[in-house]
C-alpha cells in the first residue's frame, strides 16, 4: 500500500499539470470563472457516475454525517480558489516556473500539516529525497530564469 500510494500520487501529479493546462486553455475562451465552473460541473458528472457504479456493483456503508467535522467540507471551495489562482498565474509565466513556486508552497503546507495535525515527523530518507527533488527543480528554475531574461533582452532590442 505504501509503494502503491507513492506511484498513484506520482501519476496524480502528472495529471494535475494536464488538468491545469486544459483549464487554462478553456479560461482563455470562456473566462477564468467559466472554466472553473465547468471544471467542477464535468467533475461532478463523472464522480456521480463513479458513485452510482460503486453503489450498484459494491456494498458501501452509509456514513454518519453527524460525526464529520464541519471544516472538512471546505476542501471543495479551497480547491475552487486554487484553480482560479492557477488560471490567472499560468498565463503570465511558464508552466515550469508556476510548478516550482507552487511546489514550495505545497511542501511548506504539507510539512506543517504532517507535523502538527497528523503527528508524522519526516524520516531521514524523506528529507534527503525532498532535497534531491528540490535540487532537480532548482536546476530547471535557473535555466527558465535565464531564458526569460533572454526573451526580455530580445524584445527590448527589437523595440
Amino acid at each position: 500500500m505504501y509503494f502503491l500510494g507513492i506511484i498513484i500520487s506520482f501519476v496524480a501529479g502528472f495529471l494535475l499539470i494536464l488538468s491545469k493546462t486544459c483549464n487554462m486553455s478553456l479560461s482563455k475562451n470562456i473566462g477564468v470563472y467559466g472554466s472553473n465552473m465547468l471544471n467542477y460541473l464535468t467533475g461532478l458528472v463523472l464522480s456521480g457516475i463513479f458513485l452510482a457504479a460503486s453503489y450498484f456493483f459494491g456494498n458501501p456503508e452509509t456514513p454518519d454525517f453527524s460525526q464529520i467535522p464541519l471544516y472538512v467540507y471546505l476542501g471543495g471551495p479551497l480547491g475552487a480558489a486554487a484553480i482560479i489562482i492557477s488560471n490567472f498565474t499560468m498565463s503570465k509565466t511558464t508552466v515550469i516556473t508556476t510548478t516550482i513556486i507552487a511546489l514550495a508552497g505545497q511542501m511548506a503546507g504539507s510539512m506543517v500539516i504532517d507535523t502538527f495535525l497528523l503527528n508524522i515527523p519526516p524520516k531521514p530518507n524523506t528529507f534527503l529525497g525532498s532535497v534531491l527533488i528540490l535540487c532537480g527543480v532548482v536546476l530547471f528554475l535557473i535555466r527558465d530564469k535565464k531564458q526569460s531574461e533572454e526573451i526580455v533582452v530580445e524584445k527590448t532590442s527589437s523595440d
Binding site: M1, Y2, F3, I6, I8, S9, F10, V11, G13, L15, L16, S19, C22, S25, L26, N29, I30, G31, Y33, G34, M37, N39, L41, T42, L46, S47, G48, F50, P69, G75, G76, P77, L78, G79, A80, A81, I85, T89, V95, I96, T97, T98, T99, A102, A104, G105, Q106, M107, S110, I113, D114, L118, I120, N125, V131, I133, G136, L139, F140, R143
Partner: protein
C-alpha cells in the same frame, strides 16, 4: 516576475496542501467515491456564484468553444481521477510524501510540455542540465519510496 505574482502562486501551493488534507479526512468518514462526489458538489457552489457575478456574459461562448475543441473540457474529468488518487494516498503515505510524489509527477509533466511544446506552449530543447535535473527528481522519488 512580480512579488505579487510569486506570492499568489506560493499561496496556491499552500491552499492545495490544505485542501488535499481536508479531502483525505472527508474520505475517511464517507468513503472514496462519496467524498469525491461531495468535494465536486461543494466546489461547484462557489464556482457557479463567482461565474454569474463576474462572467455571466461568457455563457454564449461555451457552446462554440465546445464545438471547436472538446479536449480542453477534460480538465474536470481528469480532476476526478486526481481527487480519487489523493483521497486514497493521504491516509496511506501522509500529506508530505503524497506532495513529494505528486511534485515529481508535476515536474516530469511540465518538462514534457516544455520540451515537446505541447498545448501551444513555447518549445525548448532539453540540455544536459535538464537531464541531470530529471535524474535528480527520479532519484529523490526512489529515496522517498524506500
Amino acid at each position: 516576475m512580480s512579488f505579487k505574482l510569486n506570492t499568489s502562486i506560493f499561496s496556491m501551493g499552500i491552499i492545495i496542501s490544505i485542501f488535499l488534507f481536508m479531502n483525505g479526512v472527508l474520505s475517511k468518514y464517507t468513503g472514496l467515491y462519496l467524498s469525491t462526489f461531495l468535494i465536486h458538489l461543494l466546489g461547484l457552489i462557489p464556482a457557479v456564484i463567482l461565474f454569474f457575478i463576474f462572467e455571466k456574459n461568457e455563457t454564449k461562448n461555451i457552446l462554440p468553444t465546445f464545438k471547436a475543441n472538446k479536449l480542453i473540457f477534460l480538465g474536470g474529468t481528469i480532476g476526478v481521477i486526481i481527487t480519487l488518487a489523493n483521497n486514497f494516498a493521504v491516509y496511506n503515505i501522509g500529506v508530505l510524501l503524497m506532495t513529494l510524489s505528486m511534485t515529481a509527477g508535476q515536474f516530469i509533466c511540465s518538462s514534457w510540455i516544455d520540451f515537446t511544446g505541447s498545448f501551444g506552449f513555447k518549445k525548448r530543447k532539453p540540455s544536459t542540465r535538464d537531464y541531470l535535473a530529471i535524474a535528480l527528481v527520479f532519484s529523490g522519488v526512489i529515496l522517498i519510496s524506500i
